[in-house]
């Protein structure tokens, strides 16, 4: 199966043109093609993981095969290749599984939408690009798919393109990511300039012995800009909350479970580059830690169900990046996996609610548990997992990160992480108590969603419970001896850390119940009392406003200056060049008289001139 792993992205890649060009008119067939393609990929991903486990493919001994895509011997080699190690195998499984469930869910969610078929086409293209990104064996290829993933994200965020806010959100995501991608591109071109290869393993072999760490640090810092954009880290996180304008299944697949994880995945792939640079690692860790805290504080004041989840995603991605920064790739990837399941579940659950109510403000919901039993109960399971309540998945992975921070002596980051765990439990259960419990609001008619939507919810709920056990401390040869950097290091279970994070999670839930568990005016009074802080949080620290101001004052001011320069200097020059080019074309054309004798004359004259030119040295006696 491993030798045919390249087929995994090919199935959905073929589904895209088939849907767009052939089955577009027949909606059920489009959905079937999309689901069958990603289903085939999923089956293959399972097969690949099985072989990786059975055949002893490890991080140190991966399977790699490649053919030259574009090459000039001795100058340049760009490969199209596949690199399969446990890291890629796990990621393949997560992406195909979540994508499969999301596509099945979408059959119900997108029912009746005029863009039904197109939607499945885009989802297929997205899955193909993401799977290509996971399989890539070199920077050039990963960048290619990285861009493709960005393009799909743009298409899907702006899927309701007739809505101005959706079109704008799509544009914002695209532009923000372009800024980050440019940094990434510069970074790996730097690496190519130093080492002369794009290949991950060749680089991994060459980097440790390279002496000039200054250059290397520059390259690493530039590469890191890529994940800052794609994984929505501060300060380039602004696009992700707006990306919620897309259809909710897209939010679940792209903006929670898979695409945003691409940045973290890149950090894992490029880990050898970062691991040799302690300064950059520290930067990565603190960017992640800060983002985790920063986004969690915003999440506690938001009212829109999808926005709360979006800030929660940013916060959790911060955790993963932080784990990478403290040197525990295992913990980061473990959290990426468990988070993919429960965050996809949260978004799909939110989608189920939105589908039923056509409403996104949690304060206009209430009492939903009576009408939507499956949705609400699975949502609660996912929230418990996210909050880190044992023995659910999030508990084990979050604990691994916190224990890692504690053991490696990053006390500051450990405290931040624990604080974020508290905030996470609080904002998730604030959402649950407000939206799902309490009294029904008047005028709302909730109903449970169809089976195509609830079955994926249940499957994801099961995974949210059990997927953490693969990395739990009582499992020998678990996740940490499978996906790792360098030598597998098993973090000893730290019961103190475990106990504290459990207490913190329960405390967060308890506080949410005290404030929102029943009707009370305490939240409003608190908001009034700490008015300035509240306003700061509700307005997301005014980051968007700052960017807007910067853009208007500085950006547009500069633009104005450039515009003048362009119009009066550059245009003048280029119009001039264009005119000269065109004019010379018109003049030179006149040489073409159509007269046979002229042509013959030109040929003879040319021969004579060449002969004279070449004969000059001979006549002068220079040539022997």
């Amino acid at each position: 199966m491993i030798n045919h792993a390249w087929l995994i992205p090919v199935f959905p890649a073929l589904a895209f043109p088939i849907i767009i060009f052939l089955t577009r008119r027949v909606r059920p067939l489009s959905a079937l093609v999309g689901i069958a393609a990603i289903g085939a990929s999923f089956v293959m991903a399972v097969g690949v993981l099985r072989e990786v486990l059975l055949n002893g493919v490890t991080m140190a001994h991966p399977v790699e095969y490649a053919s030259t895509w574009l090459g000039i011997p001795g100058l340049l080699k760009i490969e199209a290749g596949v690199l399969i190690d446990p890291l890629a195998a796990v990621m393949l499984l997560v992406v195909t599984l979540v994508a499969l469930l999301v596509e099945i869910y979408s059959v119900g969610y997108m029912h009746g939408d005029p863009g039904f078929s197109t939607f499945f086409g885009y989802l297929s293209l997205f899955s193909a690009s993401m799977l290509g990104l996971v399989l890539a064996n070199n920077y050039f290829m990963i960048f290619f798919f990285w861009e493709l993933v960005g393009l799909c994200s743009y298409l899907l965020i702006g899927f309701y393109y007739h809505k101005q806010s959706a079109a704008r959100a799509g544009l914002k995501a695209f532009v923000t990511n372009r800024v980050a991608d440019f940094g990434f591109m510069l970074g790996f071109f730097f690496l190519f300039a130093i080492f002369g290869t794009f290949n991950f393993r060749e680089l991994a072999a060459a980097i440790p012995s390279y002496q000039n760490t200054g250059f290397l640090a520059l390259a690493a810092a530039l590469v890191f800009i890529g994940p800052i954009g794609k994984s929505a880290q501060f300060p380039l996180h602004v696009w992700l909350p707006d990306a919620m304008e897309g259809p909710t299944p897209v939010s679940a697949l792209i903006h929670a479970a898979t695409m945003v994880a691409a940045g973290v995945y890149l950090l894992a792939r490029a880990f050898v580059l970062f691991a040799s640079l302690p300064g950059i690692m520290l930067l990565v860790a603190y960017v992640g830690g800060f983002t985790a805290l920063f986004a969690a504080t915003i999440a506690i004041t938001q009212r829109d169900i999808k926005r709360i989840l979006a800030y929660s995603t940013i916060s959790q991605l911060g955790y993963m990046v932080m784990a990478m920064g403290i040197g525990s790739m295992t913990a980061g990837m473990f959290h990426l996996m468990t988070h993919a399941f429960f965050k996809a579940l949260l978004f799909l659950g939110a989608g189920s609610v939105i589908h039923a109510l056509e409403e996104q403000d949690i304060f206009r919901m209430g009492g939903l548990y009576k009408d939507m039993k499956v949705t609400v109960s699975t949502f609660v399971i996912a929230a418990l997992a996210l909050a880190g309540v044992p023995p659910l998945a999030g508990f084990w992975s979050k604990d691994e990160i916190l224990a890692g921070a504690f053991d490696h002596g990053f006390t500051g980051l450990y405290i931040i992480g624990t604080l974020v765990a508290f905030l996470t439990a609080f904002y998730m259960f604030r959402l649950i108590f407000v939206a799902f419990f309490g009294d029904r609001r008047a005028g709302l008619h909730a109903h449970e969603s169809p089976l195509t939507m609830t079955v994926p919810l249940v499957i994801l709920a099961v995974l949210s419970v059990v997927s953490g056990f693969v990395g739990a401390p009582f499992v020998s040869h678990g996740f940490s001896s499978f996906v790792y950097y360098g030598e597998p290091h098993h973090i000893e279970p730290n019961y103190g850390v475990m106990l504290l994070s459990t207490i913190v999670a329960l405390a967060g839930i308890g506080l949410a119940w005290l404030l929102y568990g029943r009707p009370s005016d305490v939240p409003a009074r608190l908001a009034e009392r700490y008015r300035s802080i509240y306003k700061l949080l509700v307005n997301k620290y005014y980051i968007d406003e700052v960017y807007l101001w910067l853009f208007h004052r500085v950006g547009l001011g500069l633009a104005e200056a450039f515009n003048w320069h362009d119009r009066h200097v550059v245009d003048g020059v280029f119009d001039g060049v264009g005119d000269v080019t065109r004019l010379s074309g018109h003049k030179l054309r006149l040489l073409q008289t159509g007269n046979l004798q002229t042509y013959a004359l030109v040929i003879f004259t040319a021969v004579v001139i060449i002969a004279l030119w070449m004969a000059a040295p001979v006549l002068g006696g220079v040539i022997q």
Partner: protein, 476 residues
């Protein structure tokens, strides 16, 4: 004694051409379409044989060289001839003349190109050249009763004869100063005896002859007039295959017989390349007729191919071979689109292409992507080809030449997009109907289009074949 089996491709081609002539006399007048199909099927069969023989090598009769390089080009000629044949069905029927002769001439021209590409000896090389030139004279004038077609035939005949004379004179000078016509032996003679003035003059004359065939400036002037007047499928074939054949022979003569004079002739090629790239692209801008536009664009393309010669390296020759192959699909694609349009509307004027995208998405897409490939825009095949060509001269430190080439490529985008603009943004004229395109031609169009993408997205297999075939000129 002789290993005749190496000549299978040539013998089959000759038999097919002559067989078609005979068949034309036997088949009743009403059933002439069958001949076109026989010609196409025959070419396809020979193509399969040629592909099977791609690794064969050996020398027949002392002076005829079969090697991967020659076979690569034979495959190219056969592909181009097939596309031309498919493209000609309706066109030739419309002209209402003897179809068997048309296809027979097409195939004999192909035979001439094969001989040109495989000759390791100057006299047989010249024979191949003449076979190709004379059949093209007839084909160019095939549109009886059309003054422009007749003009094209006459111009090609007279100027072709003149250039042949110069070429032949060059051959005789080379023979006179080295005492042999076998290319390999000339190479040995030059290596031991050095260059004489007569040899240098011969080199210049031979170069002028080739420059005429590949339409290098200033030997290009015949081409726009001939291209415009000749039947459109013939123009496509002439612009693609005869040019490729001349390049193959050029590589054989200059790299096989005269590598020691490399420092001498490389300056000539640089001068020709610069003039050709600049003039071809600039004069293409004001053209209003699609065939003339393509004529100038193909002059410019010849200039890019000359860059590969200038680099005098495996990479350069491999790049020439690669570019020539994708150029078949790019340029034939554009000519197929032009033929389909002419068959319907009877016009070659670019302004009449307005709104073509709405009348026939396939034809417009073929034209657009063929032109984009010619312009060298990724992911089209043309990008990869130009990439190799430019890399080959950059690796020889001709950075300025690469910059010039890239700048002029940008100019070319301008005039190619003028056509695209008309097709996609213009409005179709009142009362215009969707284009009728024969199913066979449609298939050929889709295949060309796919290959243009495939060679651009996954160029490695063809690249390897092209580069390996080029190695033969640099073996000690």
């Amino acid at each position: 004694m002789a290993n005749w089996h190496l000549l299978t491709v040539e013998i089959l081609t000759a038999a097919l051409g002559l067989g078609l002539l005979a068949l034309g006399l036997l088949v009743p007048h009403s059933d002439r379409r069958g001949i076109a199909y026989v010609a196409t099927a025959g070419l396809a069969g020979i193509l399969a044989v040629a592909i099977g023989m791609r690794e064969a090598s050996g020398v027949v009769l002392g002076g005829y060289v079969i090697d991967p390089f020659g076979t690569y080009f034979k495959i190219l000629f056969l592909v181009a001839a097939m596309l031309t044949a498919v493209c000609s069905y309706d066109y030739v029927e419309k002209m209402g003349l003897n179809q068997a002769e048309y296809y027979a001439l097409l195939i004999l021209a192909t035979l001439g190109m094969m001989i040109l590409a495989s000759s390791g000896e100057l006299v047989s090389l010249y024979t191949g050249l003449e076979l190709m030139t004379i059949t093209f004279c007839i084909l160019a004038a095939y549109h009886l009763g059309d003054a422009k077609s007749a003009e094209a035939g006459i111009k090609y005949l007279l100027l072709g004869a003149m250039s042949s004379a110069i070429f032949l004179y060059g051959l005789s000078l080379v023979y006179g100063s080295s005492g042999t016509t076998v290319i390999r032996e000339i190479g040995q003679q030059v290596a031991t005896r050095g260059a004489s003035p007569a040899l240098l003059l011969g080199t210049i004359f031979i170069l002028a002859g080739f420059a005429f065939k590949v339409t290098a400036v200033p030997f290009h002037m015949w081409s726009p007039d001939v291209y415009e007047g000749a039947p459109t499928p013939v123009t496509g074939f002439l612009s693609v295959a005869s040019k490729a054949a001349a390049f193959a022979a050029l590589v054989r003569v200059f790299f096989g017989a005269l590598p020691d004079l490399h420092n001498f002739w490389v300056q000539l090629f640089i001068a020709l390349a610069v003039l050709t790239i600049v003039l071809g692209n600039l004069v293409a801008i004001p053209q209003t007729n699609i065939k003339r536009l393509l004529a100038y664009s193909s002059i410019a393309q010849a200039g890019y191919l000359l860059l590969g010669i200038v680099s005098f390296s495996v990479l350069g020759v491999g790049a020439v071979a690669y570019y020539a192959m994708l150029y078949v699909f790019g340029n034939m694609g554009a000519f197929m689109a032009a033929t389909a349009f002419y068959n319907n509307d009877g016009s070659d004027e670019i302004k009449d292409y307005a709104g073509l995208a709405r009348r026939s998405p396939l034809v417009a897409a073929l034209m657009l992507f063929s032109l984009l490939s010619l312009a060298g825009i990724p992911p089209m095949a043309g990008f990869v080809g130009k990439f190799y060509l430019f890399m080959s001269i950059i690796s020889r430190q001709y950075i300025w030449l690469a910059i010039l080439g890239i700048l002029m490529s940008m100019v070319s985008v301008y005039y190619y997009l003028l056509v695209a603009k008309a097709m996609y943004l213009g409005n179709p004229p009142e009362g215009s109907k969707p284009l009728q395109v024969a199913p066979g031609l449609q298939v050929a169009m889709v295949v060309s289009l796919l290959i243009l993408f495939i060679l651009g997205i996954y160029p490695t297999p063809l690249t390897n074949y092209a580069m390996n075939s080029a190695v033969t000129f640099f073996m000690p």
